[in-house]
Symmetry: C2
Subunit: 254 residues, 2 copies
């Protein structure tokens, strides 16, 4: 990479995490989330398949002073597409659902997100549907779970409130914390990791690894979580793909 390319990359790298709303149902809540973001200076919203379509005049009306965020919001068809370019994804959910994933509270998560962004990473935070939250299929795409320490008898935060608490912690720490210097390592984007896992699953299918067949889904979830637990660098993903290829060739050859 030339120095010029590096400069361009730095300019387009967002200096804040993207807030990613997964299949929000009520346009009012998209507007409320935009206001909660802008209360704490966050501007990068991504939307995954809002139920009532996009753009949404209702959402804009509800956003009042934060309408610009919605004008600039990026729209995606699936969670996978929405996180494809990100190197680290946080999922806000109250229930880790027995997955082996790292769980942080908002403060620790946003401190870490700030360090990652300062080091040149691209970071996003997933927020689930109003009624049902994030589904397993969204959560496996995340590297880290963020859980707000709510009253277990009444854990009913709404979408905008959840965005508000994450934004609050982001701003608090962004105001206070010294930032790490940019690291030399290039972290792998979510899409690279996903292609690697797809490649692996393809080979494992061919090898008859998933047995009995009714266990395939849960085995896939475990695998996807496993490779997203520790952040991977691009060279590491390349290495893993080499390993998969090598094993597959060996098996085919034997």
């Amino acid at each position: 990479m030339t120095a010029d390319q590096q400069n361009t990359l730095n300019q387009v790298t967002p200096r804040e995490p993207a807030m990613i709303l997964v299949e929000p149902q009520m346009p009012e809540n998209i507007g409320g989330a935009a206001r909660a973001m802008w209360n704490f200076g966050l501007t990068k919203m991504r939307l995954v398949a809002p139920r009532d379509g996009w753009p949404s005049p209702k959402a804009v009306a509800m956003a009042s002073g934060a309408g610009r965020l919605l004008d600039n919001a990026r729209h995606f068809g699936t969670t996978a597409e929405a996180v494809a370019d990100l190197t680290h994804v946080y999922a806000t959910t109250a229930r880790p659902r027995g997955m082996t994933k790292r769980v942080l509270e908002p403060e620790a998560a946003m401190r870490e997100a700030g360090e990652r962004i300062a080091a040149g990473e691209r970071v996003g935070v997933l927020f689930g549907r109003e009624r049902t939250g994030l589904e397993t299929d969204d959560i496996v795409r995340a590297n880290t779970i963020v859980t707000v320490p709510v009253n277990p008898e009444f854990p009913s935060l709404n979408l905008a409130q959840c965005v508000l608490l994450i934004g609050y912690e982001w701003r608090r720490l962004a105001d206070a914390a010294p930032r790490a210097v940019a690291s030399e390592t290039e972290m792998a984007a979510s899409a690279e990791v996903e292609r690697m896992i797809d490649h692996l699953v393809e080979e494992l299918d061919e090898a008859g690894f998933f047995f009995p067949p009714e266990k395939r889904d849960s085995m896939l979830v475990n695998l996807a979580n496993l490779f997203r637990r520790a952040p991977l660098t691009t060279p590491e993903v390349r290495t893993l793909r080499g390993v998969i290829r090598a094993l597959a060739v060996k098996r085919r050859g034997s």
Copy 2:
């Protein structure tokens, strides 16, 4: 005080700060504030003259799972009455309006509130009206201002969101922090300090202290703030009243 009296006192001392809503306008927002409180395990709500009266079926409907808080909420006619029994009052406001008052962010305020409560104090947090916030007359009754570090371009937190952030910090620190042991000093309740200030103002009026007359209001605010900056103990308030009395007698006598 006998050991029995001490035990009774301990039992009735609330182990959490009271959330005090000053003249809330919309019953929906009272309900929303109740939910925000209960999300983080807070239960003690006080209401100062809600615009649409009390009790309010609308507020209860909006509180859904947190209706019990509204059943137990205490209703007052004025801010002074609502804080009368408290030894330390926090006021949430974005604008210190040129008053010389201590300003803390929510985390530091709730850490301190926890320490005060552990030491036997009675603590409350004031929240202002939806459109206009707290007025000077409310703020002078507070010992400390709490300011949320919002985006200065868009500082539009609503009532329930403000309660939510205070509740979040309370719970976070209550879960984590070791508590101080109860101190021996008896802190003065807000009403004691208020009576002392009234006494002082009465004497000062008689002495022609407030001159020119059009400056009286701002001088009163400065005085009220001055005596609420540092927390006073009951013996200290008694001493101050003695000082006021002594000075007044001396003047009358001369």
